[in-house]
């Protein structure tokens, strides 16, 4: 038997032509291309430098997270979710814990919810910083990478002090938080916010009016709000196309209904607008954290939940606004200690599907810009 080869939809029906018959060329980008942010393979059909079509080949990082969930108890599966979107592990854990809490019909205490919001928003900033650094690097601006990684370190230090881990934090437990905030947590967070606020201006100074940046991002990878909704694209990409929709506002979870913040939107739905939206989102996150730190209530951090979790028979779908878009968990319980079925609705997976539409008719170099602007994490695409 011969090894199986992947047959692309782009190659079908062109077997009789030789390369002299047409200018079309089919080439591979990835799976190990440094600008694909992980192991993503994109098959490109080109006419000269113009992209005629693309096809994504994914699954190189598939670990079977959903299958693992069926073989672990609810509490045991909790750390696994951090390994999906590993740059926003806190958000993953938040979504999972809330979904199971809903199924158990318990609610986390207010203090736990505030801690959750603070950490989740810090993580949103960290995720956006990583996106900005790598996205700018892909396009050719090296400096922002050093700036964003330097500042992201401060957030990771807070995580490390809070729960001992920097990336895969496992910060929350079903029913609340495992750890009380450490001595000086509020002070650290406030110190970070004061340090970080001028840094956003610094990033913007480097890029917003930078001629090369503007030329490389304006009118690149345009997607309209209508196309976004049809393709299920969520998060900053949807908002940059002018749709004012954020789950934190539309269907508030944790303690988000207590805070004042705006949903930044763009008009053109191009790479430049998505950049501006994410920058504005970082500022809004700062605003949310400031309010949360100022108003953090006293009280318990863990709800009263049984030692062995056995949710009643039933199904639940719960989603949160992760830094990349709508992250949903669909959990089916059969009354035992393990989920009967756990489905993750990953934002990166669905957003990546828009790549083909966004790069058609554009240049090869724009494919790199669009992959960057979609802000995908392959660990979450493949799960």
């Amino acid at each position: 038997m011969k090894p199986t080869t992947y047959i692309s939809r782009l190659e079908l029906g062109e077997k009789d032509e030789t390369f002299l018959d047409s200018n079309e060329l089919i080439i591979n980008m990835g799976p190990q291309h440094p600008a694909t942010h992980g192991v993503l393979r994109v098959i490109l059909k080109l006419d000269g430098e113009k992209v005629l079509g693309t096809e994504c080949v994914i699954g190189y990082l598939h670990r079977g997270v959903e299958k693992i969930a069926e073989n672990r108890t609810y509490a045991m599966f909790n750390p696994y979710v951090d390994r999906m979107d590993y740059v926003a592990a806190v958000s993953n854990g938040l979504g999972y814990c809330e979904a199971v809490e809903k199924l158990l019909n318990v609610e986390a205490p207010p203090r736990a919810n505030y801690i959750r919001v603070i950490l989740a928003e810090l993580n949103r900033i960290a995720s956006h910083q990583l996106w900005l650094g790598t996205h700018a690097l892909d396009i050719g601006a090296i400096t922002p990478l050093f700036y964003t990684f330097r500042d992201r370190e401060e957030i990771l230090k807070i995580f490390e002090k809070y729960c001992g881990a920097r990336l895969t934090t496992h910060a929350f437990r079903i029913g609340g938080c495992q750890y009380e905030t450490y001595e000086g947590f509020e002070k650290d967070v406030k110190k970070f916010l004061n340090f970080f606020k001028p840094k956003i201006d610094e990033y913007e100074e480097l890029l917003t009016t930078n001629r090369i940046w503007v030329e490389r991002t304006k009118s690149v990878g345009v997607i309209s709000g209508k196309e976004c909704r049809a393709l299920g694209v969520t998060g900053p990409v949807l908002r940059a196309s002018g749709v004012r929709w954020d789950i934190r506002k539309a269907q508030p979870y944790a303690a988000y209904s207590d805070f004042q913040f705006e949903i930044p939107t763009g008009q053109n739905g191009d790479t430049y607008d998505r950049y501006l939206v994410r920058m504005a989102e970082m500022r809004q996150s700062v605003r949310i954290i400031e309010q949360a730190v100022a108003g953090i209530p006293e009280g318990p951090i863990m709800a009263k939940i049984p030692k062995v979790l056995k949710p009643p028979v039933g199904e639940i779908y719960h989603s949160i606004e992760a830094p990349k878009g709508e992250l949903g968990y669909f959990v089916v319980s059969d009354g035992s200690t393990q989920p009967y079925r756990l489905r993750v609705r990953p934002p990166s997976f669905v957003n990546l599907q828009a790549l083909d539409m966004m790069v058609r008719g554009q240049l090869v170099a724009d494919v790199i810009a669009v992959i960057g602007t979609l802000d995908i994490v392959l660990g979450e695409v493949d799960r």
């Binding site: 038997m1 011969k2 090894p3 199986t4 080869t5 992947y6 047959i7 939809r9 994914i58 699954g59 598939h62 079977g64 959903e66 299958k67 693992i68 069926e70 073989n71 809903k102 199924l103 019909n105 909704r229 049809a230 393709l231 299920g232 694209v233 749709v243 929709w245 539309a250 269907q251 039933g314 199904e315 639940i316 779908y317 989603s319 709508e326 949903g328 669909f330 089916v332 009967y340 079925r341 489905r343 609705r345 997976f349 669905v350 599907q353 493949d382 799960r383």
Partner: protein, 159 residues
Amino acid sequence: MVAKLNGRFGSGISEASTYLGQNYFVVDRSLIPEILQVLRDQEQFDYCVDITAVHYPKRQKPFDVLWILYSFPRNERIRVKTLIAEGESLPSSVPLWPTANWLEREVYDMFGILFEGHPDMKRILLPEGWKGHPLRKDYGIIQQDKEWVQINLGIESGQ
């Protein structure tokens, strides 16, 4: 909305209920194309959040297939569920929501449920030529397609 749909489809909707504040329908397989069309066009469910399946091997119709829909104007979620037998296929909803493309491919990859009229029905996360559908309950957690691994990777086992 439930009353309107009940009036229109009658006994085709076997259950319309709410659990923990979330609404869902259980509908007959034959009604699926029509009901999804109505939900999108008349009830404004313009965003298909997710398509997924659940395997119950002991049941006569072992698969639950679910569409999780969201409506931007109504700010409302709904789940449509149908039960299908082994080997039975479903109509593709790619013409309704282009996002269904990869979601349906994943359902096929993980459960072996085919979607008719899908533009590119093939595996998405697992490699081409793999045998078995891992999210079925009879597929073990450390099971793998040994033959595929040996031929394609040239190693005895992937574990």
